[in-house]
């Protein structure tokens, strides 16, 4: 197995990668370094260029401009079969005319590896399907086919494993289970995984680092917690989970905080969490960070008064409220069902409050709804 990986130890480096199809720019001047051994997710809505990026790394699509390096080796113009890169395809693409054993052995045989049988058996044991070697792909369930597709790729010990929406065709329960298994296998084999998905929950569960893509560019890159707690753009704030984004103006400064006026009420925003360069700012707060109370209950931290509950939905672990504010904007509030707050009903007047550090500030020139609906696609 040394032949495929030894020459290619190192990080994946994409430099100014661009791909255009006619007038349409699928990937726009993208530069990115993915460290060796990491689990990296490219997350974005359909059509954001993530799959095109993956296909360029695999060699199935040729970049219009830019280069792709693995460590010191330039692979930009190499054929797919000349790259130490393997792919788990979206619909698995198992060879229907070959047995499971021959499917998994395919890459080994092409590379002239000696101990094919031993390696195939080992990897089938790793994906927990050791007794399926003689069957045909059509006799396997979706989840089993998914594991064989993974086994067929990792048996080659590539420098880089690409996963193109690998769990998209599975039902929710199986998808959750496979997320955990994939993460475990990645740790076990220590390969670099680049995972493309439109499912933000899937990306957060598995990846060490997530790059959120939109319209061919990377909006923000970082750990799942960083992206969630400190989104850099309205798109990221809305695409990764849900956010309440409210327009405001910086009216004064108080120590290490800015005082923001939002529709006549004043709230605090830590200077370190304000990304706006001007006085125009979009203030963000995650729904689960907000406390919801009747108007006469005293509040601490930031507070917004004058809300009316317009919708209540009970979802088991939490209750989700939609609160209409005096300036006709609906805000989302998630309350844990831990008995801490009395259940409110539609039409109740409420005030909302949260701890000051949870507030984040974004550049005021953006569309506050960017990315909000797109995660419903597919």
């Amino acid at each position: 197995m040394a032949d495929a990986s030894s020459s290619s130890h190192g990080d994946l480096i994409l430099t100014r990668l661009t791909k255009t199809f006619g007038d349409f720019t699928a990937v726009d001047d993208l530069s990115l370094t993915i460290p060796q051994g990491s689990f990296f997710a490219l997350l974005g809505p359909s059509g954001c260029g993530k799959t095109t990026t993956l296909r360029m790394i695999a060699g199935l699509e040729e970049p219009t401009v830019g280069s792709i390096f693995i460590g010191e080796t330039d692979i930009t113009t190499k054929k797919p079969y000349q790259r130490p890169v393997n792919t788990v395809f979206q619909n698995y693409a198992l060879f229907p005319h070959l047995s499971i054993f021959e499917n998994v052995a395919f890459g080994l045989r092409r590379r002239g590896v000696k101990d094919v049988k031993e390696q195939v058996e080992k990897v089938l044991a790793l994906v927990e399907l050791p007794h399926f070697a003689d069957r045909k792909p059509t006799q396997l369930s979706g989840g089993q086919q998914q594991r064989i597709a993974l086994a067929r790729a990792i048996v080659n010990r590539p420098a880089l494993l690409l996963l193109d929406e690998p769990l998209g065709a599975l039902d929710l329960k199986l998808r959750r289970q496979m997320q955990i298994e994939l993460k475990w296998i990645q740790t076990e084999v220590g390969l670099t995984f680049v995972h493309v998905t439109h499912d933000q929950e899937e990306a957060m569960t598995m990846a060490d680092t997530i790059a959120v893509m939109n319209e061919g560019k990377i909006e923000q890159m970082g750990s799942p917690a960083d992206l969630y707690e400190s989104p850099a753009t309205a798109f990221v704030a809305n695409f990764l989970g849900q956010s309440n984004l409210i327009r405001g103006v910086v009216s004064s400064t108080d120590g290490d905080s800015n005082v923001i006026t939002v529709h006549g009420q004043k709230i605090s925003l830590l200077k370190s969490r304000n990304q706006s360069q001007t006085t125009s700012v979009v203030v963000g707060i995650r729904p689960e960070k907000i406390r919801i109370d009747l108007p006469d209950v005293p509040t601490t931290g930031n507070a917004l008064a004058g809300g009316i509950v317009s919708d209540v939905s009970f979802v088991g672990v939490s209750t989700q409220y939609v609160v209409e504010m005096p300036w006709k904007q609906d805000l989302m509030v998630f309350e844990q069902n831990d008995g801490g707050t009395p259940t409110l009903r539609s039409g109740d007047p409420v005030s909302l409050s949260w701890n000051v550090p949870f507030t984040f500030g974004l550049d005021g020139s953006q569309d506050v709804n960017a990315g909000a609906e797109t995660d419903e696609i597919e």
Partner: protein, 274 residues
């Protein structure tokens, strides 16, 4: 809950319900009867102690089956048909498959025009094709006979091969070939190990179709074969004097051979899936 007594329907309603449920089966029985009566008739009359003419039943005999070449020239005609059929099938299948790959996999100038032109021989009446081919051969000073017949058969078989193989190529998931390339197979190996095996059932089907078209052909053959006698020509010519019962023997054998090939194919497929 106690069981309520099942109310009995009046007789008329029961009959119409039975018809409603079984109508499709009744149709099927009529349909198959219509399709198979000629075959059964042919098979039955292969046992006729016919003598000169095989038009009336004159008693049961196994002699025709024991001696299928008994009638003069029947077996040499059959041999000619098989030889022409095999040559035409092999040539048409190879050429047609190449055309199908070109049309199915590559974009080039005149691709849609080629797609259309490939259908023309199928749509042209056979008498017109046969007569034109004869005129062409004579213009080139080639006498009708064995090879002109083979060339003519290759010509009309190719269209059918192209259409059949192209359908198979179109249904092939391009990601399978991409997966093979991703797994270190170069273009040549990808074609040999993934593309060709997956298109093979289409090619085999096309070859069977080509053979049966060639074997069966009378009109185009009649124009271009000159003095050469093929099996359909033999049957046609002897119809004037009375078709020997041996023709029924050969016809029935062909039918059973085709049936065995189809059943065997089904069994092999089922085994593969299991």
């Amino acid at each position: 809950m106690s069981q309520a007594p099942i109310p009995t329907l009046p007789f008329g309603r029961r009959v119409s319900r039975w018809f409603g449920r079984n109508l499709i089966r009744i149709y099927a029985v009529f349909g198959f009867t219509y399709l198979f009566i000629p075959v059964i008739y042919t098979f039955g009359f292969s046992f006729n102690d016919a003598g000169k003419s095989n038009l009336t039943w004159r008693g049961f005999t196994l002699n025709n089956w024991k001696n299928p070449c008994g009638a003069p020239d029947v077996c040499s005609a059959l041999g000619n048909s098989i030889k022409i059929g095999l040559l035409a099938t092999v040539t048409a299948t190879i050429l047609g498959t190449l055309i199908a790959f070109a049309l199915g996999r590559h974009r080039f100038r005149g691709r849609s025009a080629t797609n259309l032109l490939i259908f023309l021989p199928m749509a042209t009446p056979e008498v017109v094709l046969g007569a034109s081919l004869l005129a062409m051969f004579l213009a080139f000073r080639i006498n009708p006979g064995f090879w002109p017949t083979v060339i003519a058969h290759v010509m009309f078989c190719i269209s059918f091969v192209v259409v059949t193989v192209k359908a198979r190529i179109a249904s092939l998931d391009p990601r399978l070939e991409q997966a093979a390339m991703d797994l270190y197979a170069n273009e040549r190996e990808t074609f040999r190990r993934v593309t060709l095996p997956l298109v093979m059932p289409g090619i085999a089907g096309a070859a069977l179709l080509a053979f049966s078209l060639s074997f069966d052909d009378f009109i185009i053959t009649n124009f271009n074969s000159g003095t050469l006698v093929t099996f359909p020509k033999f049957v046609y010519v002897s119809a004037a004097r009375g078709i020997p019962a041996q023709a029924n023997v050969i016809g029935s054998s062909m039918f059973f051979l085709a049936l065995i090939i189809v059943i065997a194919g089904q069994l092999v497929n089922r085994k593969k899936v299991r």
